[in-house]
Symmetry: C2
Subunit: 458 residues, 2 copies
């Protein structure tokens, strides 16, 4: 009972922070109406109509967020080229008085603009009645909009609580950088469970893989930790981007909050900037060695960049492991023009010797080759010896430091197209321990600190 009160108290306080005020709502609505009207003005000419979608349409946005997504719905029999061209033309007209506009690409090109403090996307799509017959992923959005509006059933406040909770835990957003919960996924979870508290209670007992199929119409299987079948598309998992660890972080946060309700689950802590002194004290306690690489940030969108960074990290982890370096932790950071990949290692220097394993003694041909090659090898540090039935020899290690290894081998690793290109064109810097401590960018120091204390950035 006491806890129940405590929940309500906290939620009231959170609502006061995240529910848009009447004035804020009216202003956003006016801006949205203006954009839709401007699109509709093209109706006679192009058979299009404007539609406000996303959290602004569903009233599930959080105070302070000023994102407006408006779709231009074209008739189903428009040519794709025509849709793309006219779509952009109409969008440019709609955003004619924006302070800034930018062409962006999803499956179609679309326009992003900033206008009177709002971040606005104007996205052309097909107006397709039957969502099973959509022509591109964005054509689903009007259907999502419709489903949520029909089923939200006054749960907008609970959606806002859930979003704020996920944001604070650092797991909100379906970009590949975050691999968290999308807004639509959050809305579906609230609709399915009936309230934010019910969602937390359910999540407390989740054991991946968890499947939720509101319409009971799943049409195929999915390999993912959380599977939420899209109510408008029986073949689609709305949660396909969510990583196992982010799902686990949600399960963990849900349990912790229910156990000990606190405002801290809804307010991002102000990240204090650690001093170099603090970082060095932690490093000295951990006794580990840092090693890193920096290179020019390729000029591509985050959803292209982050998977490449992940691929690069995996390749280099394999390289380090194959060369006997033990990595405690690793992470990457993208700043304005530079990207960084940093490893925390067991040791800065490996011994000069490495054990080289040869063929089994009974594999005669291989054995003869091995013995001929290593009989008087200039890099040998031992006799040829037999262990577990195989030939071995101890050889001089080529790379006793991670820096020497990375310097020499990085271009042979799988790095992702644009990162490899950046490194080939602009080179890269190997950053040993001391140089990493000398990078003066405050964001870099926060990154280093979080990497060392294993703090999940929120």
């Amino acid at each position: 009972m006491k806890k129940q009160e405590s929940f309500q108290n906290i939620f009231e306080k959170v609502f006061a922070l995240i529910t848009p005020g009447e004035e804020e709502q009216r202003e956003l609505r006016e801006m949205a109406d203006l954009l839709v009207e401007r699109i509709n003005a093209f109706k006679p000419q192009y058979q299009v109509r404007g539609m406000l979608v996303g959290s602004a349409a569903r009233n599930t946005w959080i105070s302070g967020e000023h994102d407006i997504d408006v779709f231009i719905l074209f008739s189903e029999n428009t040519e794709r080229r025509e849709l793309e061209e006219m779509g952009l033309n109409i969008a440019r007209a709609v955003l004619a008085d924006a302070e800034e506009i930018e062409e962006r690409y999803a499956e179609h090109p679309y326009l992003h603009g900033r206008m009177k403090g709002y971040e606005i996307d104007i996205v052309p799509c097909y107006n397709i009645k039957d969502p099973h017959r959509i022509k591109s992923a964005v054509d689903r959005t009007p259907h999502h909009n419709q489903f949520i509006q029909q089923h939200i059933n006054s749960l907008e406040g609970d959606v806002r609580l859930a979003k704020q909770f996920l944001k604070t835990a650092g797991i909100y957003g379906s970009e590949l950088r975050t691999q968290g919960f999308s807004g639509y996924l959050t809305e579906l979870l609230i609709i399915h469970h009936g309230s934010f508290l019910n969602l937390l209670r359910a999540a407390s007992d989740w054991k991946p893989p968890v499947t939720i199929d509101i319409q009971q119409h799943a049409a195929c299987t999915h390999d993912a930790p959380l599977i939420v079948i899209d109510p408008v598309d029986p073949r689609r998992n709305v949660a396909s981007v969510l990583s196992l660890d982010n799902l686990c972080r949600f399960i963990d946060a849900a349990r912790s909050f229910l156990e000990q309700p606190d405002m801290e689950y809804f307010i991002k802590p102000t990240q204090t900037h650690p001093s170099l002194q603090e970082i060095m004290e932690i490093l000295s306690k951990r006794g580990t060695a840092l090693s890193g690489i920096s290179f020019s940030r390729p000029n591509i969108v985050e959803d292209d960049l982050y998977p490449q960074l992940e691929k690069m990290r995996d390749s280099l982890l394999k390289l380090l492991d194959a060369n006997d370096f033990r990595v405690v932790n690793s992470g990457y950071l993208v700043l304005e023009t530079q990207a960084y990949l940093v490893f925390e290692l067991f040791e800065a220097v490996l011994p000069g010797v490495r054990k080289h394993t040869g063929p089994p003694a009974w594999a005669r041909k291989h054995a003869e080759k091995f013995k001929a090659k290593y009989a008087a090898h200039p890099e040998s540090l031992s006799c040829i010896y037999i262990e577990d039935g195989r030939y071995h020899i101890d050889l001089l290690r080529r790379h006793t430091t991670p820096e020497s290894l990375l310097q020499r081998e990085i271009l042979k690793c799988g790095l992702g197209k644009h990162i490899a290109q950046s490194i080939r064109e602009h080179g890269f810097n190997i950053l040993p321990h001391q140089e990493l401590l000398r990078v003066e960018h405050p964001e870099f120091q926060v990154f280093l600190y979080n990497l060392l204390v294993r703090k999940q950035p929120s």
Copy 2:
């Protein structure tokens, strides 16, 4: 053809070194006859008879070896107690004029004595016609003797070559310390293959497991790299003690000798005593750290001691591994009163941090316990974090040096009965790198040198 000559040349030279001269043979035969006669003198009283067995009986001994094994054969219906008592009494009378005698134990007690430069074993056993009905392992020996004498077919010289070859490779002897080829096994291999050269040629193509069953009468299966069914016991593998690595060393040596025949395969190199300077130079190239333990040598026979040393080494390797220490190589040495166990490690000191893995995030009860325990743990060096679906926390490492770990944990490890007893009663010394270099015993320095350059002691 040239190689064939070369083999013959070498064998002639080896024969000159290892074949006992006429004088040497006559003297040994006289001593053996004397011992057998002395036993036969007890025939009227106890229905016993003496029998010369082993390499002396089969004329497969190597010049300079003065081992004589004489068995006292008791009638099958003698009581076991009687056999043991009378056996020892007779043996004492036989060895009355020995310079030194010692009671030893196999399945029965027996007497070992040194007399006029000969090492003599006088062993009581049952005289059992049918080897399938033997009462103890030693009862098989007279049958082995008979089989070899009936089948040796003038191959004594080849047996001597094989023994000398195996000795030089450090793999002759079926004691648990060596885990090599016994004399009987060597004789059987020569009988089976018809000559030393044929044995080498066959071994060059061996792929373990290798099975040899001269009498084609195997009565059960064996899990061993080399299986040589005892011609006098279809259930017994004569090569059961031989380790995989020693079998591989034989395969390797056989191939190498056939490829490039040389006297070096028959003459043990005189082990030069490495200087401390040499050891330190190798260590500095290898860049590794040494750590060791010494303790009082338990007063037990080698066949009991070496398996315990092996067990101790295995336990401590597991302990080191579980605590993140990486061992490059390890070895033990038994001196007069002390035993040593030495590890060559990747590093002398580990970083202060260790990663502690907790339960999966979805194992609610375990998760709650883990979080309660580590929420504000005094040894934590990080937040509690989630990785691969599991809780983790970085904690202060308890033991950053192998010395601290071994000092604290050795008595909790499986050490073998007598070693554990020795350590509990007399304690143990932890020997860090520098102290190991200060051990002045010349045998210890040879051991350390061989450990580092991975030289198989011969």
